[in-house]
């Protein structure tokens, strides 16, 4: 079933308003991809996957986040390799029941690491990589040489790392240990794509290799080169831009083959787009120029009915734009765009009331919203009355069906995001709890050890124990009062918290399982000294949090 048809469609010609036909989404992929993204994004792997969707998940979710595809890809495979290389490789099989959920979890970890400075990797004395590199190496799996492996290990470290580079390695340990978690995890948006959804579909899939294969063999377009720099510069650019484009973007010229200039505009918007291999944190933004190109492309392809995402993508010819971006954008835009030339509309109720003979283009609306500083998030410039009038409630300009569809779209997005956010929050807290427990276990071990005669200082575990002890002492000194307070607090908690915890057992059990398996995995780790040190620091940090 097609998502939306018969919507009016705009051809953007600079400076003039004109409508032609509709942009709309054709093909069966879209709803499916939407819903599958929603499904995927939630914990509901069990929830009627097959019921809701056709069994194949050919396309990707609407929201696109290209830094993730690569992270996920590389992360998964690199972790997979890690697992296989580990002496505790038997863990792989024991963990495999959870493997279904691991990928998504990894992606969530990788989401965590979004703010990571890639430089933290180099700080660890290894070469820093952009994710595209890794995913490329993933493409040719057979090329995955040992050197790649070591790098991929770095990658996994990097991806899990946080801005504090000291924590990098320890977090990577934690994330590795996350495999153990049986809780279904969210899938971060785009990237996982067909592979992950397929694996969701086949809940029994336990083979890492197969899964990685799927991901790799999935659409090859997952290779954006947007750098964080590009994004940031775009942001600042647009702040300065106001009505007219930044001087770098020579786009607003005659109409027709804008996509070329838009392309260069996009890239030019960055001082040094891709030259000094900037840390890749690609972030997709549909700037007005890009959107113009998009609209242009769709119109050239003969309108909504005939334009395929692939065709649009090709026509736009924008480097590092993937088909998923296009699909996703097409979907949202199609619910959004619906024009008939001279309709007058009344919008009653509390909001806008506008009647116009001309409807501004979408990109004009982007301009207007730029005035409201969509990009920068702050209001910089007041709109002139004309502009205000033109900036209408677009939803109201549509037919009911389209309006509903748009509403549905947005709601779906919100739902998706909420699920992801919620899962992240859960994971954060579980991590925190785990660390706390580890910390306490260490302390216990330390207490036990202090009874035995101290061995040589070279003993790594003792060294770590000492580290722990010093930090513990600090903590104790600083918070002697806390002990009293805490006990009071917990007393208060116990007695005055009448909250009904419905599903109390489930999460607790799950957590226990997590801990058990974490124990299993952590034991073959004693050789990895640096990590343990960092984990000590980290748990200190967490405990004092």
């Amino acid at each position: 079933m097609s998502f939306s048809n018969g919507l009016s469609y705009i051809v953007f010609i600079t400076g003039t308003f004109k409508f032609v036909t509709s942009v709309c989404v054709t093909g069966n992929g879209f709803i499916h991809c939407l819903c599958s993204s929603v499904l995927g994004a939630s914990q509901l792997c069990n929830f009627r996957v097959s019921e809701a969707m056709s069994s194949s998940f050919p396309v990707l979710p609407t929201t696109v986040d290209e830094r993730h595809p690569n992270l996920l890809f590389s992360f998964q495979v690199s972790l997979e390799r890690e697992m296989m290389r580990n002496p505790a490789s038997q863990q792989a099989s024991s963990l495999s029941p959870g493997s279904r959920s691991v990928g998504p979890m990894l992606s969530s970890s990788s989401r965590f690491s979004n703010d990571t400075h890639v430089s933290s990797v180099s700080a660890q004395g290894r070469q820093s990589h952009n994710s595209p590199f890794i995913s490329q190496s993933l493409r040719n799996k057979e090329d995955f040489t040992p050197t790649h492996d070591s790098r991929s290990e770095v990658q996994s470290t990097e991806f899990i790392a946080y801005s504090d580079e000291n924590k990098d390695l320890s977090w990577s340990v934690d994330s590795l240990l996350d495999f153990a978690e049986n809780a279904p995890a969210q899938i971060s948006q785009v990237e996982s794509s067909a592979g992950v959804f397929a694996s969701e579909d086949h809940a029994n899939r336990t083979d890492w290799q197969e899964w990685a294969d799927q991901l790799i063999s999935a659409d090859d377009d997952l290779e954006p080169n947007w750098s964080e720099i590009l994004n940031d510069v775009n942001k600042t650019d647009s702040r300065q831009k106001e009505l007219k484009p930044s001087p770098n973007i020579s786009v607003q010229q005659p109409p027709i083959h804008q996509h070329q200039t838009a392309h260069s505009g996009e890239v030019c918007a960055v001082a040094n787009p891709l030259s000094p291999a900037p840390p890749t944190k690609p972030r997709m933004r549909w700037t007005p120029e890009l959107h113009e190109a998009f609209v242009e492309a769709v119109s050239q392809l003969g309108g909504s009915e005939r334009a395929t995402p692939k065709g649009v993508l090709k026509l736009m010819n924008v480097e590092s734009l993937t088909i998923y971006h296009v699909k996703s954008h097409l979907q949202l835009v199609s619910s959004f765009l619906n024009f008939r030339s001279t309709e007058l509309l009344d919008i009653n109720q509390t909001h806008l009331l506008v009647t116009l003979t001309d409807f501004p283009f979408f990109s004009d609306i982007m301009q207007f919203t730029k005035h409201n500083c969509v990009f920068s998030g702050t209001s910089e410039k007041k709109m002139s009355p004309i502009e205000e009038i033109k900036s209408l409630d677009l939803k109201a300009s549509m037919g009911i069906t389209e309006a509903l569809r748009l509403q549905m779209e947005v709601q779906k997005r919100l739902h998706e995001q909420l699920e992801i956010q919620r899962n992240l929050q859960l994971r954060i807290e579980e991590q925190g709890r785990y660390l706390q427990e580890m910390f306490e276990k260490q302390r216990k071990r330390e207490d036990d050890k202090s009874k035995a005669p101290p061995s040589s200082l070279d003993d790594p575990s003792l060294l770590q124990a000492k580290l722990e002890q010093s930090s513990t002492n600090n903590k104790l000194e600083a918070s002697e009062l806390d002990i009293v307070k805490t006990s009071n607090e917990s007393a208060l908690l116990e007695e005055s918290s009448p909250s009904i915890s419905r599903k109390q057992k489930a999460p607790e059990e799950r957590n226990d399982q997590v801990l058990d398996q974490i124990e299993e995995v952590s034991s073959p780790e004693p050789t990895k000294r640096p990590r343990r040190d960092e984990s000590a620091e980290l748990s200190t940090g967490a405990a004092s949090n």
């Binding site: 109720q349 009331l353 709601q411 009293v484 208060l492 908690l493």
Partner: protein
């Protein structure tokens, strides 16, 4: 105060019935301030202990509030969901092509209404999820503040409790949401002619401000997660909505007179 402000905006934009059901973030903040300015516990003053007790008391009562409201809404949703299904079935059975009194016009009319209802219903449920989440976020933040200000260790255990609270467990609602989506997709395959012929009607902005609220929620979420100075490994990564500009453009401006 950023979160507080955002929360306030959310509450303003939210469905009217829900306004007083959100976290009393400001109140809690005041209490934390009170606690941190009160003389230390060990000196035997009761002020500190009282303030603290009050804080915890308020936290718990807030949680109760959330739970009650949430579960109420959940039940309501379940009922509405059933009703919706029955209604659809009924329409199909009577007015549908193979029904007892087939009537295309009436059928389409009813279906249109149903569609609107489904979408709004879906929206409300998603907004409940948002409600749950934003309250959780607020709790996490205020607990962090508390720990920071008072050097206490309340946060970790407390938040673990919160995670188990009914209001945070949104599985059921999520399931209903998915079912709604499924419903919409199967019942309303798009027909081109229908859309072509469809007349423009005056559109009320998605019933009872749901659409508006949804947009606000998305924007708020994005704002909240925009990297902050206190970003730590407990923080959520920034939200990445590639279409956020577009979505934000849906935000409605103040009323403007007819031209």
């Amino acid at each position: 105060m950023k979160f507080g402000k955002r929360l306030k905006n959310q509450v303003q934009e939210t469905l009217p019935d829900w306004r007083d059901k959100y976290l009393s973030y400001k109140e809690l903040k005041k209490l934390v301030r009170l606690i941190s300015s009160a003389p230390p516990f060990s000196y035997g003053s009761t002020e500190y202990g009282n303030a603290e007790a009050e804080f915890v008391r308020l936290l718990n009562s807030e949680i109760d509030k959330f739970n009650t409201f949430f579960m109420e809404q959940e039940e309501d949703f379940i009922i509405r969901h059933e009703e919706l299904k029955q209604r659809i079935q009924k329409v199909i059975d009577t007015l549908g092509p193979s029904g007892s009194q087939p009537s295309e016009a009436a059928y389409k009319d009813e279906m249109r209404k149903i569609r609107k209802n489904i979408v709004n219903f879906h929206g409300e449920m998603v907004l409940l999820e948002n409600y749950s989440n934003i309250n959780y976020t607020g709790l996490a933040k205020i607990l962090k503040k508390y720990d920071k200000r008072t050097g206490g260790l309340l946060r970790l255990p407390f938040i673990q409790k919160v995670l188990e609270q009914p209001f945070f467990i949104t599985d059921l609602v999520s399931k209903l949401v998915k079912q709604c989506e499924y419903m919409i997709d199967t019942i309303f395959p798009v027909e081109e002619e229908e859309i072509m012929k469809e007349r423009r009607e005056s559109i009320t902005v998605a019933g009872e401000g749901i659409f508006r609220n949804t947009i606000a929620a998305l924007m708020t979420m994005q704002e909240i997660r925009r990297g902050s100075s206190t970003h730590s490994h407990f923080s959520l990564p920034p939200l990445n909505l590639p279409d956020s500009d577009l979505i934000q453009s849906f935000q409605l401006n103040s009323p403007i007179p007819i031209v």
